[in-house]
């Protein structure tokens, strides 16, 4: 059944000048589908990692003691101002090589984990800045009321500042997550088998670049659209009547 559909699709595209013959080759089709899956996995890992670290960094930057704030600010500036691809190369080709030289084959860090770490931390910095904007937008009177109710600093942050800050920062956060989805494509640079990597491996053999690029565009378009739909739903759901709108 699937074979007939694919066959029909291939012969439909052929006169348009698009050669999708690779889907009829079982091993190439399998590796492409695997690539689609790995990209999903990357998104599923990098999103929570980036959000978690984003909240931690934002909390540290706005409420932490000076010895936390200083290094964090440095980390934010360094991460924000260097290209992700360069960070990935530094982490994987240099740092990872040094670790391997010390630990030998016991090095537990796979290329996949490096991508999650580098992309996750990179985006976490942007989340943190978005959240900081949100935290700073919380009216001082609210914090005063929280203090007068004997909230500790941590309680104020968790129960007053962050819930409001998230609402203020949500559009920016969703924007970051959309960017994060696209950013996972750099995994292809270090041979993590995401959809971009598998496509490159197929087109370098078949030279059907346009055909595969169209598929990649559609796929990433679909993923980012899902993220923005989710974002809009959250905005609706978290909306506080009479506040902001």
């Amino acid at each position: 059944m699937i074979d007939t559909v694919l066959q029909a699709w291939v012969s439909f595209c052929k006169p348009l000048g698009l050669n999708y013959g690779f889907v009829l080759d079982a091993s190439e089709r399998a590796s492409f589908v695997h690539g689609l899956w790995v990209t999903l996995e990357l998104c599923a890992w990098t999103m929570p990692v980036s959000l978690l670290f984003g909240v931690l960094i934002a909390a540290g930057l706005s409420n932490g003691p000076a010895w936390v704030r200083g290094p964090l600010r440095g980390f934010v500036e360094l991460t924000r101002n260097t290209p992700t691809l360069v960070q990935l190369y530094c982490a994987f080709l240099v740092l990872n090589m040094l670790i391997t030289q010390h630990l030998g084959t016991a090095n537990p860090l796979t290329p996949f984990i490096w991508v999650v770490l580098v992309v996750g931390l990179h985006k976490a910095v942007f989340h943190a800045e978005a959240l900081r904007a949100g935290i700073e937008a919380v009216p001082p009177v609210m914090l005063e009321s929280a203090r007068s109710l004997a909230f500790t600093r941590g309680q104020t942050l968790l129960r007053v500042q962050l819930p409001l800050a998230v609402r203020f920062a949500l559009p920016a956060l969703v924007n970051n997550l959309v960017d994060l989805v696209k950013m996972t494509a750099i995994a292809s640079a270090i041979a993590v088998g995401d959809v971009t990597y598998e496509s490159i491996m197929i087109w370098s053999h078949r030279d059907n670049v346009l055909e595969l690029l169209l598929l990649i565009l559609i796929y990433f378009g679909l993923l980012t659209w899902l993220v923005s739909v989710l974002g809009r739903w959250l905005e609706q759901r978290l909306r506080m009547p009479g506040y902001g709108q």
Partner: protein, 292 residues
């Protein structure tokens, strides 16, 4: 309805094909008109193509051949560095007119591109492997991670024939770094890259190329867009001339490429027997015309 649409599409495709056919040889005209030919060259380090740190010029086998091609065509040369994964797009999209990019002949490529049939080299894949690895033949790579560069034609036989887990990196240098980082047991690249690297570079003293035969040996040709008959004929005449005059053998010797390739001697003999017209390019000691 669907039928009619299908026919319209067919007609459009036929028109397009006809239009392409009418302009099939426009490239050669364009080259002469501009007085310049854009040649894509692969520059991935070593004697086949690298950047001279002193002059910032592209040097080595690929750039020399590209310059000599331009000389043969009687025009200036514009050397465009290309990468393995995207070189075909540079050619198809018209960014370059010819490719001298370590791109070997295979049926899939021959279907979508044109090429001058006389080869100028033959290359196979060799594996750089850590000395204590215990790997002696291609079959020993089964189930093991092997680094290649994205776009490498060795990926296919390594996976299908020898069952290796192929990992493709952006460039050959990334792949070699990954080998040293322990990401794979072997890095497989053109023998012309691996042999000189292991021989000359002390950083690679812990590695060797223990597998005697190369994988997927294939001839290197000059690539053009599909159906450009005049361009192909002009280029092929120049390449044949190099064989007849022995210029390729001299260049191989001058650049220190070893072991010498027997194919070049064979083609020289064939050229003499069949009386190809000799072509010799001027020595590359002069500053090249318009490279960058």
């Amino acid at each position: 309805m669907a039928m009619r649409r299908f026919f319209n599409m067919g007609a459009a495709a036929a028109l397009l094909a006809a239009a392409c056919a009418a302009h099939a040889d426009a490239t050669l005209d364009k080259i002469h008109e501009r007085g310049k030919v854009a040649v894509g060259v692969l520059v991935n380090g070593g004697v086949f193509g690298s950047i001279d740190p002193a002059t910032q010029q592209l040097v080595g086998w690929n750039p020399e051949l590209a310059r000599a091609l331009a000389q043969g065509l009687g025009v200036q040369v514009d050397l465009v560095p290309v990468q393995t994964a995207t070189r075909v797009q540079f050619l198809i999209s018209g960014k370059v007119d010819l490719l001298v990019a370590s791109m070997e002949l295979n049926p899939e490529r021959a279907e979508i591109l044109g090429y001058a049939p006389t080869p100028f080299y033959r290359v196979g894949g060799a594996a750089a492997i850590r000395k204590d690895s215990g790997i002696h033949k291609w079959e020993d790579l089964r189930g093991k991670p092997v680094c290649v560069s994205q776009g490498s034609s060795f990926a296919d036989p390594l996976t299908k024939q020898y069952g290796a887990q192929v990992k493709g990196y952006k460039s050959s240098s990334d792949s070699l770094l990954a080998l040293r980082g322990g990401q794979c047991v072997a890095a497989v690249h053109d023998s012309t890259l691996i042999y000189p690297l292991l021989k000359s570079n002390p950083e690679w003293s812990g590695y060797e190329a223990p597998i005697a035969d190369t994988i997927l040996p294939a001839i290197s040709v000059v690539w053009t867009r599909k159906g450009e008959k005049d361009t192909i004929a002009a280029v092929d005449k120049i390449v044949r001339g190099w064989h007849r005059s022995g210029w390729l053998i001299d260049t191989e010797k001058r650049l220190g490429i070893e072991p010498a390739l027997p194919l070049l001697q064979e083609l020289k003999q064939q050229a003499e027997k069949e009386g190809w017209a000799p072509v010799t390019a001027k020595a590359a000691s002069q500053p090249p015309a318009a490279g960058k």
